[in-house]
Amino acid sequence: MFSLRLALQSIFKEKWMNILSMLSIGVMLFILISVAIVVYNVEMLTAQLPERLTLVVLLKEDVEGEEIKAIQTAIRADQTVKSITFVSKEKALEDLKKVFKKDDFILKGFGENPLFDSFDVRLKSEGVKKDEVKRLIQNIKSIHGVDDVEYGEALMDSIYALKGGLRALGLSIGIIFVCSVTFICYATVKILFYRHKDEIEIYKLLGATRWFVRVPFFMEGSIIGLLGGAIGSGMLLGFYSYFIKKLMVDIPMFTIISIPMQFLYMLPVFGLFLGLGGAVLALGRLKY
């Protein structure tokens, strides 16, 4: 308890330096958490991507009856497939007519139904990797009676590439900011430590243990980190309620953005650990 009092006293005595440190930590953690939110959202959205993707398996013209059943069974057997629906060429035409509605004269020009029988194949949402989708497509293509498989390959490729890039970017920003926050705590505690050097010398001469001398500084680092994190959370909350909410009203696309509110509690805790880490680094090699 005496240690805590020492820590608080020392924080108040150097309040401007400490406030400055806390603010910078707050800003950094806010940026860090914003990046995390962007990555999180992209991950969430793309996690459902394979499910949203429907493979359209086009059959050859002369495939009929039993053969169609056999193909369906073969495709369904694959573990990545969630469901498969047969779409006859008549049904396909109906659907198309619905799309064009009044302009169905376009279709009338074809006379006989120009479409093919096909399957709509839906994939399981979780754990389906890009490579597995590719393998599935290869397999289906090799089945006798299948003409071609259509899917949004280019779209999927670019989304996966974007996701990979974003992850790497998020990770590097994360590492840089974690290091910076730790460094600020390290420097702050180091400065506080040097300001109290004579005092600490006296403590040691009177028989204070190394722990007794260090604990107030560990506490200081933790408190600075904690409050920095709280400032970051405050900024996140403010940013969320004034900016994102407005955007959500104006541009419907933004309603899909979700900010997990656990982040608000996590940030101060995260700051606390970084602060403690910085303090430990600053005093780690205290000698007698």
Partner: protein, 220 residues
Amino acid sequence: MIILDNVSKTYDYQVALSNISLTVEKGEMAFVTGPSGAGKTTLFKLLYLAEKPDEGTLTIAGFNAADLKDSAIPYLRRNIGVVFQDFKLLNNKTVYDNIALALRIRGIVEREIKERVHSVLKMVNLRHKADSYPLTLSGGEQQRITIARSIVGEPTVMLADEPTGNLDEENEKEIMKIFKHINNKGTTILIATHNRALFENTAKRVFLLEGGRLVKGEEK
């Protein structure tokens, strides 16, 4: 008890102590004297482990100080009350807090601290100065505060470095009275001084240092 056996210490190129062997018995009061620069303060620093000897062995308060683990140093220091030549008081803390610090670092509860601090303040006649700051006190008063801090932890050995450094005779007598009182309660005391008046008319043992050598370790 304090035992030095063949202890030498050299700072960079300056020899501070060479081949010192001496013994101070348990409960004894003894003096170390000699001109300025003779090595008195260095001898004390070796005893409370602010410095390590280059050679020799030291025993103090039951600890083998020459090869003590770093983690054991605080516990050695709690058994030694040191009156520093330059006081080493915290000027931004009250007299009370300065003395209480020696107990707080031991994790003693505040209630007991209060009792013990007031009791040592009474012993040095400075009860009314508990809430003053060190720099508002006279030299003699600061000296007595330092003594109070050194004994509040009830050490078995006390080291006093020039405790009457630049005090008038009045204060000198006062302080020697305090030391005698502490010594009578069984504490071993070693006093470094260049003031012959402190030991001239006593039967105490006096060690005379000159240029880092023990010239005389006599029974007077």
